[in-house]
């Protein structure tokens, strides 16, 4: 029901951005280590540090254009979609992180945190996913 959308311009070709999204060694350098492979049905695990190991499954692959996978099965239960569009000399990268539910285990934890005040929640999220 609720989702996050963020986009970022990167002054490199979609082919290079695609590699950073789909090659484990590069993915680990900006996000998390994991055995990702851009093949529909491929299951992989992302090591999110103190946030735990998150189970994922590739749902859709259009090389250098679109990559969609489930993220954090059993806790956050969401879907991540990356979309790459050529823009000028580079790439506009769109992220949609969809399917946040207030009644998922993590959603509940976040909401309980809100009862203790907004700064407390921010600190907790930072310390768990930072």
């Amino acid at each position: 029901m609720t989702s996050i959308e963020v986009d970022q311009f990167i002054a490199r070709s979609p082919a290079k951005v695609w590699r950073a999204l789909t090659e484990p060694e590069l993915l680990a350098r900006w996000w998390a280590p994991g055995d990702i492979k851009p093949v529909v049905g491929h299951r992989f695990t992302l090591d999110m540090g103190t946030w735990g190991h998150q189970e994922c499954e590739i749902l859709q692959v259009e090389p250098e254009k679109l990559l969609r996978y489930t993220f954090a099965e059993g806790s956050l239960d969401t879907t991540i979609t990356w979309r790459l569009e050529p823009e000028g000399v580079g790439t506009r990268l769109f992220l949609e992180h969809a399917g946040f539910n207030a009644d998922s285990p993590l959603g509940r934890a976040a909401i309980e945190g809100m009862g203790n005040g907004w700064p407390g929640l921010l600190r907790r999220i930072e310390s768990t996913v930072g």
């Binding site: 609720t2 490199r12 990268l93 907004w118 929640l121």
Partner: protein, 104 residues
């Protein structure tokens, strides 16, 4: 549940489905009951919770009561996602650093 608790109102899957249905436009309680194969009293109870949370408002039209989506309190719900959004902005900047900084 405390009165007007948006999160508690949204925690129920039937109520989320009712809100989704109302995104298409105002509906009468009876229509909603038919769509979800629920009894009228059940739907009325859920609509009352949504109304208390100010997620919907009621409008009498003749013998029927129509329900409209009220978008404003949903902003509170987006608030709990805000840290995730901050998180992703930081990750995307890191990604840009990796891609632009390396000779890929």
């Amino acid at each position: 549940m405390p009165d007007g608790d948006v999160f508690a109102a949204l925690a129920n899957p039937v109520r989320r489905q009712l809100l989704e249905a109302l995104r298409a436009g105002p509906r009468a309680a009876g229509e909603l009951a038919g769509q979800f194969a629920l009894s009228r009293p059940t739907v009325s109870e859920h609509l009352a919770v949504l109304r208390t949370a100010r997620l919907v408002r009621e409008e009498p039209r003749g013998r029927h009561r129509y329900y409209h989506l009220e978008p404003v309190p949903l902003a509170d719900v987006q608030d709990w996602l805000h840290p995730f959004e901050q998180y992703w902005r930081a990750r995307l900047i890191a990604l840009r650093g990796v891609v632009e900084g390396e000779d890929l």
